[in-house]
């Protein structure tokens, strides 16, 4: 027994000595390599390349959004083929997070620390971006044009100067719906279905706030988890609430389920479907286009299937080049259009960058005033050091049984 103990102690001392030795050697290397920040140029950018990273749900319940990444990649390829931005080719690395925040955190760490990207671009999902934004801001890595309409991204620029959204935020969208109801159905009784996370609560909260002072009543609200298999019970409760208007605050899988549930029941409310779920190919076609007739939603970029854009220059350029750089992608799928449009905004931001640093990129992004030709006429991309919401205008659209049809004018509805 004694011998064994002594031998063990011997090993322990030897290991400790080794640890200290290696520690002493490894320190300079460690402190030099990992630091980032400081010096002249930042990681992920050279004279010939700029590396961006994104985390998307390529698997799991929200995997429909993967198409956005395909659209964005095609736009970057298109720009690269023309010589890139200022001689720099854009490399866009994407990882799968299955729409799970913990995986998004892992991905952000991997992209920033391991892959050494210059900036995160268009990471998708409200809870996912909330999970990483403290981290990105601590490390001073830009987290750009996140694919979520949460109002949080522009609400407090001081606390999170490195994060910015892109699409109209959910509060803006909610205001547009309230505005529409006030004009069309001023005494509406509304039932709401919402996803129980940051996205759902943001839109619902914005809607409730916008209803104050009107005669529109919110008579019932039901929530579901993104991991739930169905929303049958919620829909039954809402149908029994006596509401004449239904606001559908859901992601595509559940949007489709809700439309199907209403088609099968004898509840026929005025159906408002949030923009997130208003995809014709992913949501309306599977449940039957005839069931979607009369649904109201909002839009801010050009619908590739809308006949009025058939000869539009931006639309033609997008369709031709998406086919070229993503042969398997369907140009009529609006998520591809979204990806293409947000990526072109990123290209504009890179063009406005004066030095190859993260700070300079942020300066460019905080002073954007541009038009992206794929957005609806009248919808601009504008920011200032005080205004953290790039797009704040939307237009109501109605599904006519075949296509979405734009109604009325573009409505400006700033969140603040």
């Amino acid at each position: 027994m004694m011998v064994r103990h002594r031998r063990f102690a011997g090993w322990a001392v030897a290991l400790l000595a080794l640890a200290l030795l290696v520690g002493a050697c490894g320190r300079e290397e460690g402190s030099g390599g990992g630091g980032g920040g400081g010096g002249g140029s930042d990681p992920g950018i050279t004279d010939t390349e700029v590396k961006l990273g994104g985390s998307y749900p390529f698997s799991g319940p929200a995997s429909a959004y993967r198409l956005i990444a395909d659209g964005a990649k095609a736009q970057f390829e298109f720009v690269n083929a023309k010589g890139g931005v200022g001689g720099r080719k854009i490399k866009f690395e994407t990882l799968d997070d299955a729409y799970e925040p913990p995986k998004a955190v892992q991905n952000a760490r991997r992209l920033i620390e391991q892959e050494q990207v210059f900036a995160l671009f268009n990471t998708l999902g409200t809870p996912n971006n909330l999970a990483i934004w403290d981290y990105t801001n601590q490390r001073k890595v830009p987290q750009l044009f996140v694919a979520t309409g949460a109002s949080a991204w522009g609400a407090d620029i001081q606390a999170h100067p490195w994060t910015i959204g892109w699409q109209p935020n959910y509060v803006t969208e909610a205001k547009v719906y309230a505005d529409f109801l006030e004009k069309e159905k001023p005494n509406a009784k509304v039932a709401a279905l919402y996803q129980n996370d940051g996205f759902g609560k943001d839109l619902l909260g914005g809607f409730e706030a916008a209803l104050k002072g009107t005669d529109i009543q919110l008579v019932a609200k039901e929530s579901y988890e993104v991991t739930d298999p169905t929303i049958t019970t919620q829909m039954r409760t809402l149908a029994g609430s006596g509401a004449d208007t239904f606001i559908n605050i859901t992601t595509p899988k559940f949007s489709a389920q809700a439309i199907a549930a209403i088609a099968k029941s004898d509840w026929k409310p005025l159906h408002i479907l949030n923009n997130v779920g208003a995809s014709k190919t992913l949501v309306l076609t599977p449940v039957g286009l005839e069931n979607a007739k009369g649904i109201i939603s909002t839009q801010y970029y050009k619908d590739p299937e809308d006949p009025q854009w058939a000869d539009d220059a931006a639309m033609t350029e997008y369709k031709e080049n998406l086919k070229k750089y993503a042969p398997r992608a369907d140009p009529n799928e609006p998520f591809h259009t979204f990806g293409w449009a947000v990526a072109s905004t990123m290209v504009k931001a890179l063009e406005g960058m004066k030095e190859p640093t993260r700070q300079s990129l942020m300066d460019s992004i905080r002073n954007l005033d541009t038009e992206i030709p794929l957005l609806l006429p009248g919808v601009k991309v504008q920011t200032s050091p005080e205004d953290g919401y790039p797009i704040e205008a939307m237009q109501i659209m109605e599904f006519n049984g075949k296509n979405w049809e734009l109604q009325g004018d573009v409505v400006e509805a700033p969140a603040q």
Binding site: G26, S59, P101, K103, R110
Partner: protein, 340 residues
């Protein structure tokens, strides 16, 4: 006898090698990789805990993901809401999980095999839902952000390296404690319960005490692992603890080697890294690749990583003592079966 002492020296050299690799590792890897290894070590503690329960005492738990989550949330909530220093939260997480494990161990006194497995499965299924509903405490689906601990200035390590060594030290201590536990009377009693409860009882093993005790210790390990797992990520949400995690732990003890102490380390490395690389090979087929590797692994190494040594030892014993055949070999195997 000389061959057994040679084996011992061989084994010691093996662990010394593992220790050297573990110490040198963080100086050669980037911060992200170091974080991954830190997580693998934390997983190893939980896997070891489950192995004490399943491998040694023969009781099945499909619910260790829930204890892992409990430990993680106890630690995170104490840090975020109560401002408790993170080091202090580790023993608290451990103690809370020990109590929870003891309570779950009570039904184990009456239930066996599949029935017990179902009870624990129920816990694992309920856990993420409970976390989501207890929003005020856990942050619900939004999750909880925890500041990642910074390395003390005097230590001269980067933050991620410091966390790695902290976890390494705790892991080493927990492994030594477990090794001591199973080598002595407790280990023999647990194995006796696993092999034949009635015989164990006749020999004076207090079944109730050992069974609930095994649950408590095992849950405490899982909880400590969970608490340490959260520190390098700095974020936790219900999705961090899916049902698949509990099954992952089971896979890990089998991959490492049932009823071994060291096996937990290899099992944890397996469940930390194989899914990540599987997703790198092909995002769409990640699950298929992971499953395939698992099947292949079990086919080639039915005794797990630690089984390799036993296979070698058995082969050597067989070639050395060809005149005293199967009988002797079997006793040799039984003798090593309960050891490290």
């Amino acid at each position: 006898m000389s061959s057994s002492s040679r084996m011992k020296r061989f084994r010691l050299a093996g662990w010394a090698f593992v220790a050297v690799v573990a110490i040198v590792l963080p100086f050669f890897l980037g911060t992200y990789r170091v974080g991954q290894f830190t997580q693998a070590l934390a997983l190893a503690i939980a896997v070891l805990g489950l192995n004490l329960l399943v491998g040694y005492s023969g009781q099945i738990s499909l619910g260790h993901g829930a204890f892992f989550a409990l430990g993680a949330y106890v630690s995170a909530i104490l840090i975020v809401d109560a401002g408790v220093p993170y080091l202090l939260t580790l023993p608290i997480a451990l103690a809370v999980c020990a109590v929870a494990g003891f309570l779950l161990g009570l039904p184990a006194l009456r239930l066996h095999g599949l029935y017990l497995a179902l009870v624990t499965l129920g816990v694992a299924i309920a856990a993420p839902q409970i976390i989501k509903r207890a929003e005020g405490l856990t942050g619900g689906t939004q999750g909880l952000s925890v500041d990642r601990p910074a390395a003390p200035a005097w230590i001269g390590l980067a933050d991620d390296q410091y966390l790695y060594f902290l976890t390494l030290v705790v892991t080493a201590v927990m492994f030594l404690l477990a090794a001591g536990l199973v080598r002595g009377r407790v280990g023999r009693a647990l194995i006796a319960i696993r092999e034949n409860e009635i015989a164990a009882k006749t020999m004076g093993v207090d079944l109730a005490r050992y069974k609930t005790g095994a649950f408590a210790v095992s849950a405490a390990y899982a909880g400590l692992g969970g608490a340490l797992f959260t520190l390098p990520i700095g974020f936790l949400a219900p999705e961090s603890f899916p049902l698949a995690l509990s099954f992952g732990f089971l896979a890990a003890i089998v991959v490492g080697g049932l009823a071994t102490i060291g096996g937990a380390l290899f099992g944890a490395l397996f469940i930390e890294f194989v899914p990540v690389y599987a997703a790198d090979v092909n995002t769409a087929l990640a699950g298929v690749i992971y499953g395939g590797v698992l099947i292949l692994f079990m086919y080639l190494l039915p005794g797990g990583v630690m089984g390799i040594r036993r296979q070698i030892a058995a082969r050597r014993a067989a070639s050395q003592e060809q005149d005293a055949p199967a009988e002797k070999q079997r006793t040799e195997q039984v003798k090593t079966a309960g050891q490290v």
